[in-house]
Every structure is written in C-alpha cells, then in structure tokens.
C-alpha cells in the first residue's frame, strides 16, 4: 500500500519545475513546514532558545536575588511563577536555567555525534576486524542503562556541569555509531562510491565528501531526538546533585532543592518540571517531524 507521503512527493515532483532550486533538502524543509506537531515543537524551542541566549538580560528579577520578606509567594502579576523558599523569583530562575539545559544538551550531543558518527563511519567502511572491534565496544557501552552509566562516569570524574556533558556524551556515542554504520553499509557498494575509488580518492576523502553527506539525514534526526534525552539526563543528574552546582540555577536542581516544599508551595515543583517537559517535548516533536520530512518512505 502506498503511503500518503509517497503520493505527495510524486505530485510535487511532477508539479515543481526541474532545476537546482528543487533540491532534496528544500523538499524536506517544505514537508517539515507542513508538519503541525514539528512546527509546534519548533515554536516551543524558539522560546527556550531565546531564553537561553538572552537569559540574564530578560529576567524580570535577579535570579539569585533573595527577598526573605517575600518567601513562598504564590504566582501573581508580580511573580508569574511565584517565589521559592529564599524569596527568589522562580520565573527568572527558569529563564536562566534554559541556558544550562541547552548548553549541556548541545555540547553532550555534539560529543556523541562527532565521536559516534566517526566510529560508525569507520566501522562501516573499513575491514571486518575494525568493524567487529568498534561495534562490539559499542555493544558493551549499550549494555549499560544510560543514566547509570552517566552516574558512574560522573562518580569517577567528579560532580559538575562539564563532567555532566562528557558523561551524557559518552552514553549516546553507541547510538550514533550504529546509525552511521548502518547508513554506510547501505551505500558502500553504490556506484558513486566505486567511481570515486576508481578515480583514486583516498578513504578519508571518500568518507567525508561522499559517504557523510549521504548518511546525514538519519543523523540529523537522531541529533534532535538525542537532544531531548540529553536534556532529560542533565535534569536527572542535576536533580540528584551530580550536575549543575550552586549557585547556577538549573531546572533539575530547582526541583531537588524545592522538593521539601512542594506540598505547601506546589508552584515550586510544577514550573521547573513543566520547563523540562516542554523543552524535551519540543525536541521530540521536531525530531519526529524531521524524520517524516527527511525520509517520507517511513511515514505512516
């Protein structure tokens, strides 16, 4: 049975004029724009990114400024999300927390993408022995529950935001290695690769200029989805006290610090949790939309 995705591409292919403007990526972008959930995700992420970039400049109050006369204030026009046990404005702290979440997410996923994709390309393209060694090592890393491995790595390296990035990055290396290897195996015997080899191109050149661009779309999708997981992982690590250290506000730490007061002052628990939830959901929606847009054959 033909999926609606295929039908729409065929229609586009016949409607659209031929030429360089009608590229694969442009088609994918157009499909993404029509994906409602992905656009909702993108909108949420836009807000979070703005909060992350402009952080301290747009907070209504000093995020670390204490006001003991105004402790546990309920959400109001003055304090949109109320105040915490030190009288700090929760909304301001959530704005500043966006920066931490995004930074940890982006750096951790960059580590995983570069190392994982590199290993995966090597495994898929080189000899059987190299492939076996790399992929069995990836199987080993994959056998650990992600959070447990991250906690164990942090136990060794020490607490702190930098080590959290490294730990989360290492945890997601095998996923990228598997995806990149799978994609390489799918194309390594294609004519354009054989042609490049015949023309005398070296392995690294072939990998970077011919293989990599062709495995990019599954990797882009995985980057987006991994960002969701990385932000959840950072929040969990900070919640347990391993990640961000005081006085930097982070959503995970706000939840662990305020835990004792949730029953009386529910807003202290609700808003940081919602911030994590919406950011993660934004990346998940966008990732799913990207998958549909970049690989319409998979769409159902």
């Amino acid at each position: 049975m033909e999926s609606p995705g295929l039908i729409s591409i065929r229609k586009e292919a016949t409607d659209a004029p031929l030429g360089p403007a009608n590229t694969l990526w442009r088609d994918a972008f157009r499909r993404l724009l029509r994906h409602r959930l992905a656009m909702f995700g993108a909108l949420v992420l836009f807000v979070v990114v703005v909060m992350g970039i402009f952080g301290p400049a747009i907070t209504p109050y000093d995020p670390n400024g204490m006001d003991f006369a105004d402790r546990f204030a309920t959400p109001s026009f003055e304090h949109w999300m109320g105040t915490d046990d030190f009288g700090r404005d929760i909304f301001s702290r959530i704005i500043l927390g966006a920066r931490v979440s995004l930074m940890v997410g982006f750096i951790a996923v960059s580590v995983a993408t570069v190392v994982g994709t590199g290993l995966g390309l090597m495994a898929g393209y080189s000899t059987r022995v190299t492939d076996e060694v790399i992929m069995r090592a990836m199987d080993v890393l994959y056998a650990f529950p992600p959070i447990l491995l991250a906690i164990a790595i942090m136990a060794a390296l020490g607490k702190g935001i930098g080590n959290a990035m490294i730990a989360i990055g290492i945890v997601y290396i095998p996923i990228f290695a598997r995806i990149a290897r799978g994609a390489v195996l799918g194309i390594r015997n294609e004519e354009f690769i054989i042609a490049a080899k015949a023309m005398g191109a070296g392995d690294i050149r072939i990998l970077l200029t011919h293989v990599l661009p062709n495995v990019l779309s599954p990797i882009i999708v995985e980057i987006t989805l991994s960002l969701a997981f990385a932000i959840l992982a950072e929040a969990a690590l900070s919640f347990f006290g391993f990640g961000t250290q005081p006085p930097d506000p982070s959503w995970g730490r706000m939840l662990s610090e305020g835990r004792a007061f949730f029953r009386q002052s529910g807003w202290m628990g609700v808003f940081p949790g919602l911030a994590i939830f919406f950011t993660v959901m934004g990346f998940n929606f966008l990732g799913d939309g990207l998958r549909d847009a970049l690989d319409p054959k998979l769409r159902r």
């Binding site: 069995r136 090592a137 890393l141 056998a143 447990l148 906690i151 136990a155 390296l157 969990a236 835990r259």
Partner: protein, 315 residues
C-alpha cells in the same frame, strides 16, 4: 533450526559481559589523580592513603589489577564496601530481588497501557484516537520520571493518603503491603515505557494489517475480531517481543531514577548511595550486576525471538 545463530548469540553475550567488566573496572581508573586520596579526602595522612591504595590494589600494574579484580568478580567476590567494611556480594544479593520485581511490574503496567492503545490506533490510522495516542506517547517520553514520581507522591500519598510515599515490604511477608508500595514507583517507570511501546506496537500492527495473509483472512469472511486476534496480533507479537527486549535497557535506566525517588531498596539506589559516599568498590559491584542483568534479559529475549521465528539468522 539454525543453531549457529544460538551459538553466535551466546558468544556475543560472553564478549559483551567481558567488555562490561572492563568498563566497570575502568570506573576507578579514570578518577583524576589518586583514587585513594579522592576517597579519603584532602586531610587524610599519607600513611592512610598509601594503606588504602594497597588495599584497593592500586599500587600494582594496570593489567594485573584488572585480572585480579576480574578473577575475584567471577567468583562473586566484589571486595568490601569502603564505608562499612562489609562484603559487597551479600549486599548486592539482597538488592537484586526488589529491583527485579520493580522492573517486571513496571514492564507489565507498560504493556497493559500500551497494547490496547497501540492496537486501536493501528486499526484506525489518522483517526482522532490515533492522534491522541501519538500525542500521549510523545508526552510520556518527555516527562522527567523523577518529577512525575514526586507529583504522584504529593497527590496519592501526601494529599489523598491512599498509598505509601516510599519504602518496601517483601512480598512473602505481606503481599498487600508489597502491592501498596510498588504501585507508585512501578507506574512511574511503566508510564514512560508504555509511551515508547505504544508507538512500536502501533507500527508492528500496521505492518501486519497490510500483509497479504490478513487480507486473505478477511476475504475468507472471518470476523474482524478473529482476523485481528488470530492472524494479525499473533504475527505482530514476534516484532513486539524484540522491541520489549530493546526497551529493557531503557526500563532499567528509568528504574535507577525511580528507586532513588521512592527510596526503593534496589540496586539503583545502592549505586546512587555508593556514588554519594565515593564507595568505588560498591559502585563497581552494583553497576556490574545491573549491566549483566540487562545483558542476560536481552539474551533471553533474542533467544525467545529465535524460537518464535525460526527464520531469523545472525546478521
């Protein structure tokens, strides 16, 4: 039957377990500086640091350290906890049961939620219920489980006073109390797992619903119920079993978090305590047992898959 697959799968599991021991051993090796100094703190005397170094075997060459540690670990000797100087193995044994119970109940709760939603949304793709199911599964994977756990404690334990907020009772002591304690943590871990499984079950069902044999079954005039239960679901189950296997690692990840939030006396909480106390030998033992448990469950699921679908070959 293709027994070569079984042999290769067993060999792979052995290689992975060996690799796991190496990674776990490396935990102490990557501690920056001297692990003995890190454990004892900056004010400990040189003698006590040197003593601990010798006790942990850190003064020996790397490979010798690993082989000694491995040969002991294989015999179930994980050394002594630095904190209470007690043998680690008995502490681990006492924690496996509660963790395993929590994992299984979470898995069952996950499947009970995921099966009906996944099947119904596959039967009516694009319908309102399908869209709601998609959004549900997206929400489920986006909720931080520690946050959900806390909210459940506040609502069901503190405000409504229906269920205990934390703790554990062994099932053979008081089954009712065991159930009361496990509901909230298992629901927290199971909810996340349900949202992932819903998508896979939907997709596995969609695959078989479009297959020729399902159309043949319909053409024969069988009732829709028979077509779905006897022809479609049975075949979809093969894929679903594999997916449950893949979920095991993620499920255990969730359980580590849930155990800490609900003070559940399992391996995850023990690992967490070991990190807090810088008890590296205890951490190594705990992480090793969890990783091997996950590998064994994955092995079991793969072999089960082989039994369900003998066409499978080692890729």
């Amino acid at each position: 039957m293709n027994y070569q697959y079984v042999v290769q799968r067993l060999l792979l599991a052995l290689v992975v377990v060996l690799g796991i021991t190496f990674v776990v051993f490396m935990i102490m090796q990557i501690v920056p500086g001297d692990p003995a100094r890190v454990i004892l703190g900056p004010y400990a005397s040189e003698e006590s640091v040197a003593g601990l170094r010798a006790r942990l075997g850190l003064d020996r060459p790397f490979l010798e350290q690993y082989l000694v540690w491995l040969s002991k670990a294989v015999r179930g000797d994980f050394g002594q906890s630095l904190l209470n100087s007690q043998d680690i193995a008995p502490q681990l044994r006492g924690r496996i049961g509660p963790s395993f119970e929590l994992a299984m109940v979470s898995l069952v709760i996950g499947l009970v939620i995921a099966f009906p939603i996944g099947i119904i949304s596959a039967l009516k793709p694009g319908s309102a219920i399908d869209i709601i199911a998609t959004i549900f599964s997206q929400i489920g994977v986006s909720v931080p489980s520690f946050w959900m756990g806390i909210l459940l404690i506040i609502v069901f334990s503190l405000n409504l006073d229906l269920l205990p907020p934390s703790g554990y009772t062994p099932i053979w002591e008081d089954a009712g109390d065991w159930l009361a304690h496990i509901i909230l943590p298992a629901f927290t871990a199971g909810f996340v797992s349900a949202s992932i499984q819903t998508r896979f079950i939907r997709s596995a069902m969609l695959d078989v619903l479009n297959a020729n044999y399902v159309q043949t079954a319909r053409a024969k005039g069988l009732t829709e119920r028979t077509v779905i239960m006897r022809h479609a679901l049975r075949n979809a189950l093969i894929n679903i079993v594999t997916i449950i296997g893949l979920q095991i690692t993620a499920l255990f990840s969730g359980i580590v978090i849930v155990e800490v939030v609900f003070s559940w006396p399992g391996l995850g909480r023990l690992a967490f305590n070991a990190v807090e106390e810088r008890d590296y030998p205890l951490l190594q033992g705990t992480v090793l047992v969890i990783a091997i448990m996950v590998t064994m469950v994955n092995l079991f699921v793969d072999l089960l898959y082989f039994l369900l679908d003998p066409r499978i070959e080692y890729a």
